[in-house]
Amino acid sequence: MDSSRYDVVVIGAGLSGLIAASAVASENLRVALIATGPGSFVLGSGCLETQEIVRLGGSPDLNEAIEFFCERSRLAGNPFEGDIASSRPLPAILGDFKSVALAPRLLWNAEPRADLSAVVVGIRGLSDFDENFMAERLRERTRAMGLACRYAARQISLASDCGAPATTLRIAKRFDCDPEFRSELIDALRRAASGFERILVPSMLGLLSSEPEILQFEREVGCSLGELPTLPPSIPGLRLFHHLWSCLQKTGVEMFQGFPVQKLEIHDGLCTGVHVASPGHPLILRGESVVLATGRHAATLLDRSCPGLDTQMRPLDAGGSAVARNLFAAGSLLNNGAGSRGGATEILTGYRAAKLAAAGRGSYAAR
């Protein structure tokens, strides 16, 4: 077999693309992944919302896909807790609550419960987060839920420069790279925590930090920590991206990051190549199957807006037939404007498209 040929080429490294690449790789197939950046992870909340899982409820492979995702995120050092049937409240950006099924522990720590005594900690200079607003909203909302929770608000000042105005991205970067910053943060949080059983901070505790590192950080602060959602970029989302991405790299998936896909080469109903806009020699990736997980950027690659997918997850053209027999779609491309919430759709469709792409391998030429 041609050594430059892959079993599956996956385009896009949002949640659906990464899951698709992982799922194909887990069958010991040769996978290429092309991506310009972390896609929807920048925006996503980093947890799986109940509402969406309920909406997908009829899908027979949902359990399998979510289990696969949980296993991968655990391997990657960013474990998700909870289960698909559960519905527990986590704070949203306006300080009200949304129902969540699965989330990393750091986000679950912001879950309200009876007699909780928590302090919301803001950072001086981080103007897009207001601890007083959050604390007041959480107090009100939990009272409405019949929970006697105590939320106080404190602001801490850090001597380290986190930009003016400070952003959670800058803080997370410092958290990852600068041990002095970390110890300064530990001291400040420890002081703010006195008298409370839990600290709630804006999501900012590192893009690279793995679960053991966060546990260590909590031990040093001496108090359990929870992260609250912020305006994008979403730190929990980027953290998950980072972990899944590095895990894929370790499993031998060939990753091409930073270059956009220019076009799909389609001949006689088969996608025969993926043209990547890289400098120098043109980069053309050839795969038995191709998974398109580019979100709405797919519209430009498909040269038209996609009216839908067939039962095999293949994008259809205006005439209602599959654009290519070996081209499968995953992710928000499928929603046709309805929007995706939280990621379960990405996981399910990524997983499903990977299975179809892997299974179809070798059968196309015969048709």
């Binding site: 925006l43 996503g44 909340s45 949203a92 950006i93 306006l94 300080g95 009200d96 949304k98 200079g125 103007s127 897009d128 207001d130 007083n132 607003f133 007041e136 909203r137 009100e140 003016a164 105005p165 959602p229 305006l231 994008p232 979100g295 709405r296 519209a299 807006s305 928000s332 404007g337 309805a338 929007g339 995706s340 919430r341 939280g342």
Partner: protein
């Protein structure tokens, strides 16, 4: 009871123009507006300051009026006008006889115009369709409608006039055949008020009929819906008109960082609950594409509909709305209906708002027995920024930020600069699209400004915050936190304010089916957790 000589109902361009005109004549007046400034047709139009070219073939008189007013508005409110000029483009498939008619009529009406070859026209506006036949120039311009209304209100307030926002009139009390007082209710606080007056002026636009009914009189108004698109692009730097009999989708107005394409025309029963249809949107894009190829693939920021309130004597027939006069009518209800101290003004257009106000005020002054002359054509609405403030502004802020702020705030810029000097962190940009600093946000939300914002949308009308590509997803949150921090709102009020603001923004995006704006909308809805919006457009123009 509070009392004044004149109560004006309606805070659009006409009402604001009347308030300013009366205050210049030394007549005390209070304006009651049911929402915030420019809540009706004024805030939902192209923002085109007509040169008259649009009307010149059909109605030379209206064209001349427009031309004169165009010049006056440019002179009295330069900070509201982007004097970009305009083109009337001759499209390949349109009637060539009309082109010549236009040229002759423009000369007759005195509209300064040059005839351009296709090459010259495309030299000025390279994105015009390659098959155009030529173009005529004209002095069209874009006017920031919110700023224009604010300028009129601000100038009037400085002379003692009063403006109440969110004051919905629910009764006009009469005694012995004369208006005695106007009763209103604050829709945000629920408080009621009554203002005794010698006269009331109905300048309620699309709502004029129902306001007139409160005094027991009838005013014939015909409501026409127009739908417009806001594109996140400036494919032309001049106003582009299609040189043909006025129709749908033939005007593109560059408005700051965006452009507005419109409009449609459809009879509706009233000004509330307007819905844009996807046919309208598609039709506008198709027509726009004929003028500027590629326009249909531009990023649409939002869709909005407004209502033109046209004077309609007895026209109830099937004739298309554009055939009805764009002129205006002044009703003296004393002579017409036997209700003294009450006049209504209906019809007209944004460009001639000042002229309408002048006629109303002439009549009102006469009825009040006051000898006066209209001075609004000569008096500048707002002094320019002084050199010292300008120097300070460009020292303290990046030049584009400083200059945008100067245009918005005028002399008030000094107070914002003082705030930044005292607390440099206030120089932070809260709206990256429209370059609004935290200091300016806090200023318009604060109580020391003459026309404080009460909602996040009000902030938008004063600063353009939320009008750019993010449609308030980021800057709306920041404005909400600012209102909370300044104790304008409790946390739950602040959250409710943001929700209702975003709801309006989302409605305007409900029709957009592809491209970046859909992702923006998804992001916004995912963050703030909403169901996809219903297909209702409303909200003000985001030009």
């Amino acid at each position: 009871m509070e009392s004044t000589q004149v109560v004006i109902i309606g805070g659009g361009a006409t009402g604001a123009g009347i308030l300013w005109d009366l205050s210049l004549r030394g007549i005390s007046a209070t304006l009651l507006e049911q929402g915030d400034i420019a809540n009706g047709a004024t805030g939902r139009c192209h923002g085109l300051l007509h040169s008259g070219g649009r009307y010149v073939v059909k109605d030379g008189g209206t064209a001349r009026e427009c031309l004169a007013e165009n010049r006056i508005v440019k002179a009295i409110a330069p900070h509201c006008v982007d004097d970009a000029g305009g083109l009337f483009v001759q499209c390949a498939h349109d009637d060539p006889a009309f082109f010549e008619q236009w040229w002759r009529a423009a000369a007759e009406a005195g509209i300064p115009s040059r005839r351009l070859s296709a090459e010259q026209a495309r030299g000025l506006e390279p994105n015009l369709a390659p098959d155009i036949l030529g173009a005529f120039t004209c002095p069209d311009a874009h006017v920031d409608v919110f700023r224009l209304v604010l300028a009129n209100l601000g100038a009037a307030q400085a002379r003692g006039a009063k403006f109440y926002a969110y004051a919905k009139v629910n009764a006009i009390r009469t005694a012995n055949g004369r208006v005695r007082s106007v009763v209103y209710r604050n829709t945000r606080t629920g408080e009621e008020g009554e203002i005794a007056c010698e006269m009331a002026i109905n300048a309620a636009g699309g709502w004029a009929e129902s306001v007139a009914a409160m005094a027991g009189v009838e005013v014939p108004v015909r409501c026409e819906k127009g739908t417009l698109l806001v594109l996140n692009d400036r494919p032309s730097s001049r106003v582009i008109n299609r040189c043909r009999k006025a129709g749908d989708g033939d005007i593109l107005v560059p408005a700051g960082p965006v452009s507005i394409l419109g409009t449609t025309s459809m009879r509706v029963s009233g000004p509330d609950g307007l819905r844009a249809s996807s046919e309208e949107v598609d039709g506008l894009l198709r027509l726009g594409n004929e003028l500027i190829p590629g326009l249909a693939s531009a990023r649409i920021l939002r869709v909005f509909s407004g209502v033109r309130a046209l004077y309609s004597p007895e026209a109830r027939g099937a004739e298309a709305g554009r055939e009805i006069s764009r002129g205006f009518a002044l009703f003296d209800h004393e002579t017409r209906d036997g209700v003294g101290g009450f006049v209504s003004i209906v019809g007209g257009k944004l460009t001639t708002y000042r002229l309408m106000a002048a006629e109303v005020c002439d009549r009102v002054a006469k009825k009040l027995g006051i000898e006066s002359e209209c001075a609004t054509a000569k008096v500048s609405l707002r002094p320019g920024v002084d050199r010292k403030s300008h120097r300070r502004a460009i020292q303290m802020l990046p030049r584009p930020v400083a200059e945008r702020m100067e245009r918005r705030l005028g002399l008030e810029v000094a107070r914002v600069l003082d705030a930044i000097e005292a607390r440099p962190a206030l120089a932070e940009l809260v709206c990256e699209c429209e370059l609004v600093t935290r200091a300016e946000l806090e200023y318009v939300l604060g109580q020391s400004t003459p026309l404080p914002a009460q909602t996040i949308a009000d902030v938008g009308r004063r600063t353009r915050l939320g009008f750019g590509p993010c449609q308030g997803t980021f800057c709306g949150y920041r404005a909400m936190l600012a209102g909370f921090q300044m104790h304008r709102w409790s946390a739950s009020q602040a959250a409710a304010e943001l929700s209702s603001f975003l709801d309006e923004r989302w409605k305007g995006q409900g029709f957009i089916h592809q491209g970046n704006q859909v992702e923006q909308l998804d992001l916004s809805q995912e963050l703030y957790g909403a169901d996809p919006p219903a297909c209702v457009t409303s909200g003000a123009q985001d030009g």
